[in-house]
């Protein structure tokens, strides 16, 4: 399987958060504070990780469950890219 580009992963995550978590209610930017705004919580993050596992094929380890990794769409994208690289490297 070809590894998706960073932009593709960003778009996948952004679309999921916008469509499923926020139910299309409002727009979010690449640097919107998702934890501070309460967009991501213990339930929505687990759902997001399940989505990433199914769509990108990467499991995010528990050790990576830190605020810095989930603050924004940018940081989540970086986490997925790093995990993918580690997994296939």
């Amino acid at each position: 399987m070809t590894m998706p580009e960073r932009d593709e992963i960003f778009e996948l995550v952004r679309d999921y958060v916008q469509r499923v978590v926020l139910r299309g209610e409002s727009g979010i930017a690449h640097d919107s504070p998702l934890l501070e705004w309460g967009v991501l919580n213990s339930i929505t993050i687990v759902r997001l990780l399940a989505f990433v596992r199914d769509r990108v094929g990467v499991e995010i380890p528990a050790t990576e469950m830190t605020a810095d990794n989930f603050r924004t769409l940018d940081s989540i994208t970086s986490l997925v890219v790093t995990s993918l690289t580690r997994g296939t490297g």
Binding site: L35, E36, I43, I45, T66, A67
Partner: protein, 379 residues
């Protein structure tokens, strides 16, 4: 999956059953109202305070399945479910987070004493404004030289009124939601801690629970559990233990209640024959057995999933939901079979209803378990 017990498991189960049964028969009325602190040395002698703690810290080093079987024996032999609950909170919500996430210094300092009963531990997570929603914790931990200052108030702290040690959780980064929570182990002799008196509650009488207030209470850095911001993960792991192994105690108590109910249906006669001859009574007892065995299988399945490293969340939620709901339903059915005697306090049947009701609430309510199951189904 192998559903059979090994010879060693069978032997350990029966040995524990006999030891606790004999101990309980010797307890006086006054003893039966005592708490974990009073019983701790007996519990430690059977290994119950450290079942799953690694052996090098004085524990039994058991996996989840073997731990659950021991707690099942405890719940079967001991009619005091408050004591079973208090012991399980001490072990699964306090000792295990230290064992799994503590610094080496904290493990060496606290775990041997928790396993021996020299220290009693309380679980201080819940707050009046934050039950299932951990992101709403009001307790704060501010970094200072050498550690953190804790401020805030915890509620429903199991073993709180009698605790020497607390595992607690506080916000270290209010901008990070549930990933801004950090776990700490705190000694209750630390200046700034106030332990409230036991709360009056419906059941689990000998398990004390109360308020704990922190007022600029200093906790050294080596008493942080896990990484900063990893508190929710620490708590979730402790809930894995509670939702499986603590609830194994309820499976044991349901076994005991079913045996008593069958015996009563065989010996109580009405209209010239044992009431168990009446289909209405027999069917009620058959339903009790069906609920119990379904719950038991789900519980063993969840324990097995954890031990083999399978993604266990759905199995754990199914098990916790099934055991806690079965415990309430079976207790109500037992009262119905016993009739007026079931309603009298000194017959030991109505207490099962009061003790089981708590099981639908603590360690994540039944509604939260359904939410987890639905989430795992993709809803």
């Amino acid at each position: 999956m192998d559903f059979g017990w090994s010879e060693g498991q069978r032997h350990a189960f029966e040995e524990l059953l006999a030891a606790i049964g004999s101990w309980q028969d010797d307890r006086s009325v006054a003893d039966s109202e005592s708490d974990l602190r009073a019983a701790r040395h007996d519990l430690a002698s059977w290994g119950l305070l450290g079942l799953s703690v690694p052996e090098r810290y004085g524990g039994g080093g058991l996996d989840v399945r073997d731990t659950a079987l021991r707690v099942q024996a405890f719940g079967d032999a001991c009619t005091d479910m408050g004591l079973v609950f208090a012991t399980a909170a001490h072990l699964f919500a306090c000792a295990m987070p230290i064992a799994e996430f503590g610094t080496e210094e904290a493990r060496e300092r606290f775990l041997p004493s928790l396993c021996s009963g020299a220290l009693v531990a309380g679980n201080a997570m819940t707050e009046s404004g934050a039950g299932s929603d951990l992101s709403k914790l009001g307790t704060r931990a501010v970094a200072v030289d050498g550690g953190y200052l804790l401020s805030g108030e915890k509620s429903f702290v199991t073993n709180g009124p009698i605790a020497d040690l607390l595992v607690t959780y506080a916000q270290t980064d209010p901008t990070a939601g549930y990933l801004g929570i950090t776990a700490f182990v705190v000694e209750t002799r630390t200046p700034g801690i106030h332990l409230g008196p036991p709360m009056d509650k419906m059941g689990l009488d000998s398990a004390s629970a109360g308020i704990v207030a922190f007022g600029d209470c200093f906790v050294p850095s080596d008493q942080v559990l896990g990484a900063i911001g990893q508190g929710t993960e620490v708590f979730n792991r402790s809930m894995r233990w509670e939702r499986t192994c603590l609830f194994a105690g309820y499976v044991g108590s349901m076994d005991r209640l079913l045996r008593r109910t069958v015996e009563h249906a065989q010996t109580r006669s009405q209209f010239g024959r044992p009431i168990g001859d009446f289909q209405a009574v027999a069917h009620r007892i058959a339903e009790m057995k069906s609920r119990l065995e379904a719950a038991r299988l789900l519980l063993y399945r969840a324990c097995w999933a954890i031990d083999v490293g399978e993604h266990p969340d759905q199995h754990i939620a199914l098990a916790k939901l099934a055991v806690s709901e079965a415990a309430v339903a079976n207790a109500l059915d037992a009262v119905a079979v016993f009739g007026a005697w079931g309603y009298l306090s000194d017959h030991g049947i109505e207490v099962a209803v009061r003790d089981a009701t708590a099981g639908r609430i603590f360690s994540g309510t039944s509604d939260v378990q359904k939410l987890i199951i639905a989430r795992e189904l993709g809803l």
